[in-house]
Symmetry: C2
Subunit: 350 residues, 2 copies
């Protein structure tokens, strides 16, 4: 989107330097102009256009699913996406992981004084495109501005509301021994894409974030009447954190087969260079599905029909031994404990 500032009534000084000033968060005319000339035409939402304190929506169609997430990724743009696309997909995916059909999204912006309006418009355009792709409508938004040096361009909170169809019960506690662990595609792409640009590794051209909405894949599984026990998107903390949480919640063990886990060679090489375990690296367009073993192959087949799931594979099983623990069989035939990291491997990955 290219923004025309001809219609803006803000003082000439601001027109000449089209950047965020504190007044854009003040609730006065500058705030209104930002909303009217930038967010409204970009987001194209009847609910937002109401400009009321809260959006009022139609009665809900079943159990509500709600999830909130803030995004502070650095840099704002990275190979494969930007903070706007990530903020929409991230919350859409959290809803989808409970089997919910994502419907509404809110967007809260914390802008740093000095941010270029063109940059903000680009991010908003990405959000609008991602929302359209995932089938959600942005119904409420808010903008605050902080002084230069108290932010980092833009932080975005998105909160999503979805509806859980009757009969759907997807929850980590439903993992049971004998179940298969399915992964929808390659791991580590998002984390290594961020890392490659931040550290100038020379892999920049070859690694792109996998940011993508996963609600389509989930809808396909449910439409095929697969009894999905658990879904989890392995974002911060990677696949290791996701499966450890499942093992802990359900009181089961999880056995992974390292050789079965899809990973791009360039991502693997980058992880080796940096001494990182790809199981700990963030993904933004992948899901872990736990289904009964007899549904495993059908699950993989259905996932592979979509671009987002084209590299899907069975990567392990739920076991009754070592409850609460995740063990991986290595390519060398040995076993190792896959633990959750203590702290932070890659700060501000999402």
């Amino acid at each position: 989107m290219t923004i025309s500032m001809d219609a803006w009534s803000c003082p000439l000084r601001l027109r000449d330097h089209p950047n965020i000033v504190l007044g854009h968060g003040g609730g006065g005319k500058l705030s209104s102009e930002l909303i009217e000339h930038l967010f409204l035409p970009t987001f194209d939402s009847d609910e937002l256009s109401e400009l009321a304190d809260a959006a009022v929506l139609a009665p809900a169609e079943g159990r509500l699913a709600v999830s909130t997430d803030s995004f502070v990724v650095h840099p704002l743009r990275f190979p494969g996406g930007d903070i706007g696309e990530l903020a929409v997909n991230g919350t859409v995916n959290d809803l989808a992981m409970r089997g919910a059909v994502p419907a509404h999204l809110t967007a809260g912006f914390i802008l740093e004084e000095g941010l270029a309006l063109e940059e903000l418009a680009g991010i908003a355009t990405s959000m609008a495109a991602a929302a359209k792709r995932a089938g959600v409508v942005i119904v409420s938004a808010d903008t605050k501005v902080v002084e230069r040096g108290h932010g980092d361009g833009v932080y975005i909170n998105t909160t999503g509301i979805g509806y859980v169809p009757t009969g759907v019960d997807i929850h980590p506690r439903r993992a049971q021994p004998g179940d298969a662990v399915v992964l929808s595609g390659t791991i580590g792409d998002h984390g290594m894409a961020i890392m490659s640009v931040r550290e100038s590794l020379g892999f920049e051209a070859d690694i792109a974030s996998d940011t993508a909405p996963l609600n389509g894949l989930v809808a396909d599984l449910l439409a095929a009447e697969i009894d999905v026990h658990v879904l989890r998107d392995p974002t911060r903390g990677g696949v290791a954190a996701a499966v450890n949480e499942i093992a802990g919640t359900a009181g089961v063990g999880i056995a992974l087969d390292e050789q079965a886990i899809p990973i791009r060679p360039v991502v693997k090489a980058a992880c080796e260079l940096l001494g990182m375990d790809p199981l700990h690296v963030a993904n933004e367009g992948k899901l872990v599905a736990i289904v009964s073993s007899d549904a495993a192959e059908t699950t993989v087949d259905i996932l592979r029909r979509s671009t987002a799931g084209r590299d899907a594979a069975v990567v392990g099983e739920v076991v009754s031994s070592h409850p609460g623990m995740v063990i991986a069989r290595t390519p060398f035939g040995t076993s190792r404990v896959v633990d959750t990291m203590v702290g932070e491997q890659l700060p501000r990955i999402c």
Copy 2:
């Protein structure tokens, strides 16, 4: 709340210096500990305790209302409240301004590296108390951490979900000539409370923020079958911005009577000292109600029964002349245009 760190498994270095580190936002064990030992016991929410990607709630009871707001107030604590209480009340009030009964809240935290855990625990405790008071449950939460110098202690996004009772239709477009403009109490308290501590005006002991939930007042009006046309909470931009928005949306004029507008003498004095128009100063526990003129006195009576509305008064009327404009009669018998500010009077007031 006093937090005991005995059960935390984080490295000794962190126990000795109980402050936020980047790892608290990493999705690993430090993140889990922050949630498990600080947020869960404080917020006491079944939905949060599930630790799932999204909360799943019971089917909704009518039309949904949704509102999002981020809070970046500086300082984090001020006379009369703190950022936590403000973040809960602010979003509860946005829902109430559509006549919705607030039900669920999400909380997204952006923490700055170095923030004292005790400070965060205090803010979370305030949020929990405010949520209880307003009758809402925190159902989803998220924490991100940014490096020192890229935040300001803590920024909070809250998103609220409420239900609009059948037959309730409260919206700025419903203001019509002949209606009365009712204000629920004194103006300028919040903005001047923040200003007094920030600028060390010497008024610190005498001015407190009015932060309060307004859903009780709204419920009282609806229970008495008052046909409330418009509600608006005059936060950023003050009463001036709120009534100008109503005038613009409904295409009507609004005539205020300055002498009828309640204001504490100490707030008035502070505004005069700083050269500020109290109509432009933020409130966080007041509402503007527009009702038909024959319901005006009953509305005031009902509001006055509650502490939050004890200074309620009729402060003006909706007129057909000067559509889109707000005119105030001054104590000197003259008239003046009350416009919306262009930019920012008091940065980071909420």
